[in-house]
Symmetry: C2
Subunit: 462 residues, 2 copies
């Protein structure tokens, strides 16, 4: 998100020290960070350099490390554009252990079966801002938070309908009926686990950044394949789409100061002290000036989806809480996203005005029932940071995906990685004959291509 950073508050510095991983040291998750800090020299396979049209030094796009379990499944590809490599990624197998309950009342959780009980796959993209620290921490931490959250509810995920009590015993004979009336399904436990994991990870990042004197934040886009379903959790402006032969379906929506305007204005209305008298809560088509005083101008407040006119007062001339349009929209003149992880210390330049109260760490989760899709070999999910979607529409990406997969051999285990690389090249002013528009992204770009067919075939083991 480096290019989306309006007022750069963080001066360039050397590569960050590797933060100590949060969560249990002996994690049973065979987990990998397929991406590298700039200058770490550990990139296994840098491909052809893609020349950027500007005059700055050219860095080669790095191909992410091909993970053992991951061969032929998905690979994250990063254009390595930013000064700090602020995009980070993680993927791996997610192994959920079963925790059995004893019969005794009030008995505590006992892990009687330390082996994996349920397995899934996990992919995550983190687009950092204000340095890579939060993104690196998230890439090291979020999967552990998610595993813990899932293990805390996995007993309830076995049946299609979770029991009211985790012990499985009904305290009240009509308990199953209440659960059914509320329509609570096993997938709701995974959604809840993802929501809680994001929040837990945000707390960890806050503590770690404070302890190490670092700063920064990141967006988070996570896909989890579990029990035949793909869960996509998003907090920020990355995006995941499903591409099939005759279908394009967006699996996430973006959270920016524009898309969350009413929530943000509402908060400023409830807590005006958050603006410290320096900003106006109201939205105008442009920032007002002295000439506008006394005029009736278009505006809208927190309760309005429509617009109205108001007579301009002196307080309306303050800097707007949300300012700018489209990709340029900024919260408090500072941040281009309204959800994500980190940013606990972030303040408006030269003030004590905090951004964190306006930010949500909670993702929106969508569920794709892969087993009900009649999945074809060419059906893929494309996950990418905003750098891709700034220059390519869903339709353009789908066009590129379909034409690439038609022209490449089905038994090439690397074809999905090559596809991800090709998508990135299309944002760098190269190989974009397919779209014919040649738009160029100056942001970091990271892409995962997840073939659904292998997921559907493999399913998830007990």
């Amino acid at each position: 998100m480096s290019a989306g950073w309006f007022r750069r508050r963080f001066l360039p510095g050397g590569p960050l020290p590797e933060p100590r991983p949060a969560g249990p040291r002996s994690s049973p998750v065979p987990y990998h960070r397929p991406r590298f800090l700039r200058g770490s020299g550990s990139s296994p396979g840098a491909t052809d350099a893609s020349r950027r049209p500007d005059a700055r030094p050219v860095r080669s796009p790095a191909r992410g490390r091909t993970l053992p379990w991951n061969a032929g499944y998905a690979e994250v590809i990063n254009a390595e554009k930013s000064e700090f490599n602020e995009d980070q990624a993680a993927c791996g197998k997610l192994c959920i252990r079963r925790c059995e309950f004893g019969i005794e009342e009030h008995q505590e959780w006992l892990t009687v079966c330390p082996e994996e009980f349920l397995t899934g796959h996990y992919w995550a993209l983190f687009d950092g801002h204000g340095g890579p620290a939060a993104a690196i921490l998230a890439a090291n931490t979020l999967h552990s938070c998610l595993r813990r959250q899932l293990e805390a509810v996995v007993e309830g995920m076995i049946a299609p309908q979770p029991p009211m009590h985790l012990s499985g015993r009904c305290v009240c004979p009509s308990d199953p009926q209440f659960v059914e009336e509320k329509g609570i399904q096993a997938e709701d436990l995974v959604i809840g686990a993802l929501e809680n994991a994001f929040q837990e990870c945000d707390d960890v990042i806050g503590r770690e950044l404070e302890a190490s004197g670092q700063v920064g934040g990141c967006t988070a886009l996570v896909a989890v394949f579990l029990q035949g379903k793909l869960y996509v959790a998003n907090a920020g402006d990355s995006r995941a789409i499903l591409v099939r032969r005759h279908e394009i379906r967006q699996l996430s929506s973006e959270f920016t100061p524009e898309t969350e305007r009413q929530r943000i204005q509402q908060l400023a209305f409830t807590y005006p002290e958050l603006l410290a008298g320096e900003f106006t809560r109201l939205e105008f088509p442009r920032r007002l000036k002295g000439d506008d005083l006394g005029q009736k101008v278009l505006f809208r407040d927190h309760h309005m989806r429509g617009w109205s006119y108001k007579r301009v007062e002196k307080s309306d001339l303050k800097y707007p809480l949300i300012h700018g349009q489209g990709r340029q929209a900024r919260l408090l003149g500072t941040l281009a996203v309204s959800r994500g992880l980190g940013d606990h210390q972030l303040r408006v330049l030269d003030t004590d005005i905090q951004l964190k109260p306006f930010l949500l760490s909670i993702p929106q989760v969508t569920v794709l029932d892969v087993h009900q899709l009649a999945v074809q070999e060419e059906d893929v999910v494309v996950m990418a940071t905003d750098g891709l979607w700034d220059v390519l529409s869903n339709e353009q990406v789908a066009l590129l995906v379909r034409s690439f997969l038609t022209g490449n051999q089905k038994d090439d285990p690397h074809r999905f990685s090559e596809l991800a690389k090709m998508l990135i090249h299309n944002t760098q002013g190269k190989d974009n004959g397919a779209t014919g528009e040649g738009q160029v992204s100056y942001d970091d770009v990271s892409v995962f291509v997840i073939p659904l067919h292998s997921q559907a075939q493999e399913g998830s083991g007990h």
Copy 2:
């Protein structure tokens, strides 16, 4: 909404005195309340009594007064079920005057052309609770609030894109570009006017009820036809649907403690004092009891769309902020809707806990571009209070509408009124052969049927 009233807090009384109308006395709106207080004896055309299957005294469904401008257009039909006739309605021509600006700087609004400039049509349903007082006030007031709000912006509604300044003069040469970038359209001014009118009307109702020592609240569903578009504004659990030969489209969504759970829980999280230690913010599948203490049970909090498990503490045994399921769900054990007008004095029985902080008076507005629909003669919008939708689905209503309009003569000016009456009869255990289910509503039921063809033909005059 009488049947949806969980704890009846208001004792029966005689008919309410006619409240003095809010807003200007010499309103240019030829405005009518087509419905009557029970016992007022002014019903012009009561039709055949429809026997209810229960043993209570039968009241005949009253046909609303046929308004002069309204013949053949729409008629509100009410089953007159409730003790107090809590459903109220209003419809009429909406005449917006033009207000010209002078050239002088800082010149005030001047009404130089008192004649109507823009005309539209207005239909509204108000489903009262805790007595009819708020519903009657809303039926007398909301159209005036809307007219005022529209007149305040009508100069900006003439062009497809409203000007940044209401005077039409650009203060900054790039003003039109900013308006275009934000995508602000003339219809956004109508949406804003509806949002502001609901809020203004709620303030008026609060003041009037306090002054007259009355209580109560109501839902509000409003349809406005203006400049070729139908605007549907909804705050509560009434509903409007579009029925065409090959299409059913819901034009509003319901706002209940269930649909607005996260907003309501979030508020209780932000202001725990609103619950006075008497309620728990958390949602459980059922109300917890002593037996549940120490168990891990399903729950969700304000930030969760999914579910998780928590160990039950003593504070979890309190009465839930939102309790019950579906039509039985209640906010603070009291109210079945989460948006509407009035309820300024409403408190939880025998406590000082107020409901108003949890209620929104802001409607959600949807826009139907009638001129782009290629409207057919049988295309109608059905607006009805929850009594209808409790027993008939959108599909059942559409089936009834289509079969009725096919079988009735096109030149019968009363056929849409007859259709509304037939729909009501279908909720009373009569005439419901078409749906074959024979469900019965014990709530008030009010229905408007708006034929779009006449609207599209007439358009709106300047």
